[in-house]
């Protein structure tokens, strides 16, 4: 985590385009793993096994540390409502792939599950951001009434942000991990066939072009439907209001956090000048030399502790805060969709009533209006349950985020405390003085 030039990832090397297959092609990396009933063994084998990319380059699995962090990630997720979990997903181990056409990052998506919908209990596949985007689009299309969690921003300004810096990739990895976990936790979305394919298939068979077209289809229709809504139920209005106010608060918190980082940086600048004055002074002194140098080095320690705090806040706190804004946007879109479905229903109902008057023969409600009504009911129910889930997640997420902030600050003060406490005995300790017997 240095403040210098961001580190780039180890590349898989230059290879001509013909030799590079998408990492998901050729051998199924998942088949290398043997199913095992014992949780403990399997996890280490994911980490320690020789996985290789289809082009033969061995995947350098980062150390036992990655398998233990995998375990940590699995254990950190709280059980919602005490449900027993049967699907665990993580996003790990980013790697850079270089070809003559393009350079991109892939992430390892590891799955552990006991669900019958999956053929195997474990999977390990490599996916790139495009693939996540495809998944999200598919989910939106196939589950239009549900809240789909957001992805981290797709586009970054080249030249401003280094897409391959360790910092950026790590932030993105965490966000992608969060995305998959939210989907995996969802009682409906997690059973989606496209999600299943994403986790298990070697080749996603995305047919990008079609995906783009379909993206334009259903979702857009629901969002920009030209119907005017008459009576929105109060609870949904309340949700909309809440989201607006919450967005505001998040914005304020973001600004405050940034301001604090700025103030801390300026404090740092002064501290870096302050300590050395003590060092210079020490050179002019005899008995005080030790104490003055002790104080100077203490300040240097505090200065680097502050540096770490600022870094941690920039890397851990701000990105998560900002990503929540995206989450709110997704929720707002779902609310809008619901409004439009209801509006469509109202319009059709009105039109049917009109025609009914005309014909005066039909006594039953036409089927397409009934279908609309069902859709409205379904949508409302899905939305309510998604809303509750979202609120719960939000509560946990912010509890974690703010607790993390408190932890970072506590650690900073503990480091400073240790530094100053260790200098006290140095200050108190008087060196035996060489007696100066210079008389006139």
């Amino acid at each position: 985590m240095s403040a210098g030039t961001p580190k780039s990832l180890a590349s898989s090397g230059q290879k001509p385009i013909q030799e590079i297959c998408h990492p998901l092609g050729a051998e199924d990396t998942a088949s290398v793993l043997t199913p095992s009933p014992d949780v403990g063994n399997t996890i280490t084998s994911i980490g320690g096994k020789d996985l290789s990319l289809p082009n033969g380059t061995p995947v350098e699995t980062s150390s036992p540390a990655s398998s233990s962090s995998l375990l940590n990630r699995l254990q950190l997720d709280d059980d919602l409502d005490g449900e027993t979990r049967d699907l665990f997903v993580t996003v790990e181990d980013p790697k850079k792939h270089v070809s003559t056409m393009e350079t991109y990052i892939t992430y390892m998506v590891a799955t552990k599950t006991t669900r019958v919908e999956f053929d195997l209990p474990e999977y390990s596949v490599r996916r790139r951001y495009q693939d996540f985007d495809w998944l999200r689009t598919k989910l939106e299309d196939t589950q239009p009434t549900h809240l789909i969690p957001p992805l981290p921003e797709k586009f970054v300004m080249k030249g401003v942000v280094d897409r391959f810096s360790e910092e950026f990739v790590e932030t993105r990895r965490k966000a992608l991990d969060k995305f998959l976990k939210r989907v995996a936790d969802h009682p409906v979305l997690s059973f989606n066939e496209h999600f299943n394919a994403f986790l298990s298939a070697k080749d996603l068979n995305k047919r990008q072009g079609l995906a783009l077209l379909s993206k334009m289809g259903e979702s857009v229709k629901y969002v920009t439907g030209g119907y005017k809504l008459r009576g929105r139920p109060v609870e949904f209005s309340a949700m909309g209001d809440y989201l607006d106010m919450f967005t505001q608060k998040l914005g304020t918190i973001d600004r405050i956090a940034q301001r604090i980082i700025k103030e801390q940086s300026e404090y740092q600048v002064e501290l870096r000048e302050y300590g050395p004055v003590y060092t210079t002074w020490a050179l002019s002194e005899a008995e005080l030399q030790g104490p003055l140098e002790g104080v100077a080095s203490c300040m240097a320690n505090c200065s680097s502790a502050l540096d770490e705090l600022t870094q941690d806040m920039s890397e851990d706190f701000l990105p998560v805060l900002r990503e929540y804004v995206l989450y709110i946007e997704s929720m707002k879109i779902v609310l809008k969709k619901r409004d439009n479905i209801q509006a469509e229903y109202e319009a059709k109902l009105e039109a049917a009533a009109f025609r009914k008057e005309d014909r005066a023969s039909c006594t039953q409600v036409p089927t397409d209006v009934e279908k609309c009504h069902d859709r409205v009911e379904c949508c409302n129910a899905d939305l309510k349950s998604d809303w509750d889930r979202w609120q719960n997640n939000k509560r946990q997420d912010f509890r974690q985020l703010l607790t993390g902030m408190a932890d970072h600050n506590i650690q900073y003060y503990e480091k400073c405390l240790a530094a100053w406490e260790s200098v006290i005995p140095l200050l108190r300790d008087k060196q035996p003085q060489e007696t100066e017997t210079e008389e006139d």
Binding site: M245, Q264, E266, E270, E273, W281, E287, R399, Y413, L417
Partner: protein
């Protein structure tokens, strides 16, 4: 800082107990507001004997302290005279008041004045001074008495002398080193004070911005159901955090005051070294004067011109003087030589005594400085530790609240 020997402080308890505002007419007959300080004294015997007499007290203003110090400076030039607290607030970080009337400033000045009196009264030489005693015990007539000593004239000439440029040939090397050290001490402490003020400013900013969290958490908690309580309480802790910096920085001013004392002490030390150079210079001047007068006598007596002189030239050109003139000149020279020898003797003694006395006091000062600054650094470290502990406390409290969200 009680010294060995029978200093005033061993016989008498001294304190600057209070400060009050007064109004009066100043030297140009305009109304002004000024602060006076209450000096209380009690004989120690009375206290140890079990009585608890009320202290004698009198009021003095800052300018009277200044007069006292100037008197001490000219009367004891070989002593590193303790400094007064600063006349005007300097090295101020921006939230700290630079106003002389500000109660915090007045309070710190009260402490500084007391410190000055304690240092002077515990000094083996200074504490025996009658004027000092008078200052502490008799409110009226003190100014007249001190002016009668004629110190003012000496003070003026001293200032001139110490700032004059002169080349001294053989100063005591120890004094030259000490002067060099005093320059460094002055420069370093003032640099330290300047940067410390900037650091304090920035630290203030960091803490205060956290207060904004308090506000937004409170607003946010109003939107929430279950999260509300935790957020609200956490917000209060953020407010407390932001508020805590005021007291911490006020406390740190004490450290700044300790540094300032030694900034001003450095000046006093330098003055002692300069006075030595001046004394030595006067001795050297008197000596070389004497030598030249002796040479002139020799030339007149023997008629031989050893060195080139204008007189010699004119003698050659215009003829020598009459024997009577020569006799007259010789007598004059003899007188001057006698005087000159007396002067040289006096100056030599003066110089030696000065060096002896000054060196003793400079050693005493050095030991005091090492002790005091060590204590100051320890105090500063203790303050920092307290600040860290408070920080840990607040954030731990906030963390608990976040847990409950």
């Amino acid at each position: 800082m009680v010294e060995e020997g029978s200093t005033l402080l061993r016989r008498m308890e001294i304190s600057v107990a209070e400060a009050e505002k007064r109004t009066g007419k100043n030297t140009v007959n305009m109304q002004e507001i000024f602060t006076v300080y209450l000096i209380e004294t009690r004989p120690i015997d009375a206290i140890t004997e079990g009585h608890n007499p009320a202290p004698d007290s009198l009021w003095r203003r800052y300018s009277e302290f200044e007069i006292l110090r100037n008197y001490l400076l000219v009367t004891y030039p070989f002593i590193v005279v303790p400094p007064l607290p600063e006349k005007r607030a300097e090295f101020v970080w921006h939230k700290l008041s630079a106003d002389n009337m500000d109660p915090d400033f007045v309070e710190r000045r009260r402490v500084g004045l007391e410190n000055f009196l304690l240092r002077v009264a515990s000094h083996s030489v200074l504490s025996n001074d009658k004027i000092l005693y008078h200052f502490l015990t008799e409110e009226h007539r003190w100014k007249e008495v001190v002016c009668e000593t004629g110190f003012q004239a000496k003070a003026d000439s001293r200032i001139k002398a110490l700032s004059a440029t002169f080349r001294v040939k053989n100063p005591d090397k120890r004094f030259t080193e000490m002067k060099h050290y005093s320059d460094e001490l002055q420069s370093l402490t003032s640099q330290l004070l300047r940067v410390r003020a900037r650091v304090a400013d920035r630290l203030y900013g960091v803490y205060k911005v956290h207060g904004n969290y308090g506000r937004v958490f409170s607003e946010w908690s109003a939107l929430e159901k279950e999260m509300g309580d935790g957020l609200q309480s956490a917000g209060h802790h953020m407010d407390a955090y932001a508020a805590s910096v005021d007291d911490m920085l006020e406390e740190e001013e004490h450290y700044a005051d300790q540094l300032k004392e030694y900034l001003f002490y450095a000046e006093a030390l330098r003055a002692v070294c300069r006075k030595h150079e001046l004394t030595q210079y006067e001795l050297e001047t008197a000596s070389s004067d004497l030598i030249s007068k002796k040479q002139q006598r020799e030339e007149l007596a023997t008629g031989m011109v050893r060195t080139f002189s204008f007189k010699g030239m004119t003698n050659k050109l215009f003829g020598q003087e009459t024997p009577e003139q020569r006799e007259a000149k010789l007598s004059l020279l003899e007188e001057q030589i006698v005087q000159g020898e007396e002067t040289v003797t006096e100056k030599t003694v003066e110089c030696e005594e000065y060096v002896k006395g000054a060196w003793v006091d400079m050693q005493r000062f050095k030991e005091q400085k090492d002790r005091d600054l060590r204590e100051a650094l320890i105090g500063y470290a203790v303050m920092q530790i307290s600040m860290c502990k408070k920080g840990i406390q607040v954030w731990t409290n906030a963390k608990e609240c976040f847990h409950k969200m």
